[in-house]
C-alpha cells in the first residue's frame, strides 16, 4: 500500500537528479531577483545527497530523509540550505519509525516541512518565497488524503498545487529573502525557491507514481 525505505530512497534520488537538471533555470530565476546562486546551491547539495544515498544502509524512510536533511544543511549554504534542510529534518521526524509511508504520513511530513520552513524563515504566504509553493501543496495533499487518495495521488495533488502556487509568486512583491531588497521591482518574476519546491514535489510525485505502479505489479 505505502512506500518502503527503498521507494523513499528512489524517490529522493529521483528528486535530486531532477533538481540538478533544473540548475540553469533556477540560476536564471535567481539572477533576475536574487544573486543567481539558487540552482548552483541546490545542485551542489543534491549531488552530495546522491553520493550519501549511494552509501545505503538506511533502517527506515525517516533515516533517508534525515541524511538528506543533514547533507543539505552542510553543503547548500545560502537561505535555501537551512530551509530545505529543516524541511527534510522535520519531515523525517514526522515520519517517525514507520517502515511504510502512506498518504497520511506524506501529509504530516509535508506539513511538518512547511512548519519548519516557517519557523526558521518567518515567511508568511504572499511573501514570495518557497512558502507560497509549499502551503497550497500541504492543503491539496490534505484534501486528497481526506478523499481517500494514496501516496501517488497525494503527491501529484501537492505538486499541482505547488506549481500553481509558484506561478502565483510572479505577481507578488517580495517581503522576505534577497528579492525583497528590490521592493516593487521584484514583481513580475517567478520566485526561484517556490519554483524549486514545485520541481522537487513534481519529481517526488513522478517517482511515487512509478514506484507504486511497479510494486502494484508484483
Amino acid at each position: 500500500m505505502g512506500c518502503s525505505v527503498e521507494d523513499v530512497t528512489a524517490a529522493v534520488r529521483e528528486a535530486a537528479k531532477v533538481v540538478c537538471a533544473h540548475r540553469d533555470e533556477l540560476v536564471e530565476l535567481d539572477r533576475e531577483i536574487g544573486d543567481g546562486d539558487h540552482g548552483e546551491n541546490l545542485q551542489r547539495g543534491f549531488t552530495a545527497v546522491l553520493a550519501k544515498l549511494d552509501g545505503g544502509g538506511f533502517d527506515g524512510p525517516a533515516s533517508v530523509l534525515k541524511v538528506t536533511a543533514t547533507t543539505l544543511i552542510s553543503t547548500v549554504g545560502g537561505a535555501a540550505g537551512p530551509l530545505y534542510g529543516t524541511a527534510f529534518l522535520r519531515a523525517s521526524t514526522a515520519v517517525g519509525d514507520v517502515s511504510e509511508v502512506d498518504g497520511r504520513v506524506v501529509v504530516s511530513a509535508l506539513r511538518a516541512a512547511l512548519e519548519g520552513v516557517v519557523a526558521r524563515g518567518k515567511a508568511a504566504p504572499g511573501d514570495k518565497t518557497m512558502v507560497d509553493a509549499l502551503t497550497p501543496a500541504v492543503d491539496a495533499a490534505q484534501s486528497t488524503v481526506d478523499a481517500g487518495g494514496a501516496v501517488p495521488e497525494v503527491l501529484r495533488a501537492a505538486a499541482d498545487a505547488a506549481d500553481a502556487g509558484a506561478e502565483a509568486t510572479i505577481a507578488l512583491v517580495a517581503r522576505k529573502g534577497r528579492a525583497s531588497y528590490l521592493g516593487e521591482r521584484s514583481a513580475g518574476h517567478l520566485d526561484p525557491g517556490a519554483r524549486s519546491t514545485a520541481v522537487l514535489l513534481r519529481a517526488l510525485a513522478d517517482a511515487a507514481g512509478s514506484a507504486t505502479s511497479e510494486s502494484g505489479r508484483h
Binding site: G77, P82, G121, K176, R178
Partner: protein
C-alpha cells in the same frame, strides 16, 4: 565571461590556495570545510571573533583575519553564505575559552546558517553570541521584511570588536561594542556596472552606458533606483544625503568615513569621490575624524562605490586606532 579562473565551481578553493600562499605568515587556511584562521589561533583567554559569508567580497572577510581583528573567517561559495559545518569548525578552531562572537551580515542565508552553527557550538558548551550587521540604508527596515542588509559597516564592527578582544575584553564587552558600532553605522552603495558571478556566467543585471544604480547590494543584486549617470558631485551627494539623514548624523557629530570601492572602480576615482564626500560632510558640520579609502567590501569586478559613516566616541576611536595586522588592514604593528 572574462575572468582569470579555471573551473567556475573551483574558484573559491583555488583562490584560498593562493591566499594561503600569499599570507602564510598571517593565516592558516583549511579546506573541507573551508576556513581561514589566524596563524596563532586559538588565542587562550581571549574572546574569539568569527565572521564569514559568501565569497566575492574580498578582502572581506579573510583579509581581516589576524591580530586585532578576526580570529576566523568562513568563506562560502561566491555570494553564498557558508554552511553551519564551516562556521562550527571555525568556532571550534579558534575559541580560546573566553567565548566566541559571531559577526554576521544580515542576509537570510547568513543568519540561518550561523544560527544553526551557534546552536551546535552551544550544545558543545562553547559560549557564542551573535551580532547582526545591518547598515545598508537602501533597504527599508521593517518587522515584515528581511531587514536591512549588512555591507561596508561590517569591517568597522570587525575592527573595533576585534581590537577589544585583542586587549582582553570579555564577551559582554565585545558584544556591546559590536552592537554599538552597528547602531551607529550607516551605508549606501551605487554601481556603474554589474558583476558576473563565475557560476552564472553573465552579468547580474545590465545598465546602459548612461545609467547608474543607487542602493546596490554587494551580491550583484540590482539596487532600488536606476537613474541617469551623474557627475561625481551628484553621485556622492546622493550617498551622503541618504546616509546622513538615516541615523541621522547631525552637526557636531564626529565620524569615521569609509569610502569603499565595489571592486572595479579605480583608486583615482575613489579618492576623488572621497574628497567630495569630505567636503559635503564639512558643509553639514560633521567632523571626519578617521577615514579609510579603498576596496574593502567588494562585489567582484563591479564598478561603483559605497559610503559608510560611523558615529564615533573616544572609546571607538581608540579601538579603531589600535594595532591591527591582517592582509588588508594593517597598522601599529
Amino acid at each position: 565571461m572574462k575572468k582569470i579562473i579555471n573551473d567556475p565551481a573551483a574558484v573559491v578553493a583555488e583562490a584560498l590556495r593562493g591566499m594561503a600562499a600569499a599570507h602564510q605568515d598571517l593565516l592558516t587556511v583549511r579546506t573541507d570545510p573551508a576556513l581561514v584562521t589566524r596563524a596563532d589561533a586559538p588565542v587562550a583567554g581571549r574572546v574569539a571573533l568569527v565572521s564569514g559569508g559568501g565569497s566575492g567580497h574580498e578582502p572581506l572577510h579573510g583579509g581581516f583575519v589576524g591580530p586585532g581583528m578576526l580570529h576566523a573567517a568562513c568563506p562560502g561559495p561566491v555570494f553564498t553564505s557558508p554552511t553551519p559545518d564551516q562556521v562550527q569548525a571555525a568556532i571550534e578552531a579558534v575559541h580560546g575559552g573566553a567565548g566566541v562572537l559571531l559577526v554576521v551580515k544580515n542576509y537570510t542565508g547568513d543568519v540561518l546558517n550561523f544560527e544553526t552553527a551557534a546552536e551546535l557550538a552551544a550544545a558543545e558548551g562553547i559560549e557564542v553570541r551573535t551580532v547582526l550587521v545591518d547598515d545598508d540604508v537602501a533597504v527599508k527596515d521593517s518587522l515584515y521584511t528581511a531587514g536591512r542588509r549588512g555591507v561596508g559597516g561590517t569591517l568597522l564592527v570587525e575592527k573595533i570588536a576585534g581590537a577589544a578582544a585583542e586587549r582582553g575584553a570579555d564577551l559582554d564587552t565585545c558584544e556591546e561594542l559590536a552592537r554599538r558600532v552597528v547602531a551607529n553605522t550607516r551605508s549606501l552603495g551605487m554601481a556603474l556596472t554589474a558583476c558576473t558571478v563565475p557560476h552564472v556566467g553573465e552579468p547580474s543585471f545590465t545598465l546602459a552606458e548612461d545609467e547608474m544604480e543607487i542602493g546596490i547590494g554587494i551580491h550583484g543584486e540590482p539596487g532600488r533606483q536606476r537613474l541617469p549617470l551623474e557627475p561625481a558631485d551628484g553621485i556622492v551627494r546622493r550617498l551622503v544625503d541618504a546616509v546622513t539623514e538615516d541615523l541621522p548624523f547631525a552637526e557636531g557629530d564626529r565620524v569615521l568615513l569609509l569610502t569603499n570601492s565595489m571592486g572595479g572602480t579605480p583608486l583615482l576615482e575613489l579618492y576623488l569621490a572621497h574628497g567630495v564626500a569630505e567636503g559635503l560632510l564639512a558643509e553639514r558640520g560633521v567632523t571626519v575624524e578617521r577615514r579609510l579609502v579603498g576596496p574593502y567590501v567588494t562585489s567582484l569586478e563591479m564598478q561603483g562605490m559605497s559610503l559608510t559613516l560611523l558615529r564615533l566616541d573616544d572609546e571607538l576611536i581608540d579601538l579603531w586606532d589600535a594595532p591591527v595586522r591582517t592582509a588588508a588592514l594593517r597598522w601599529g604593528c
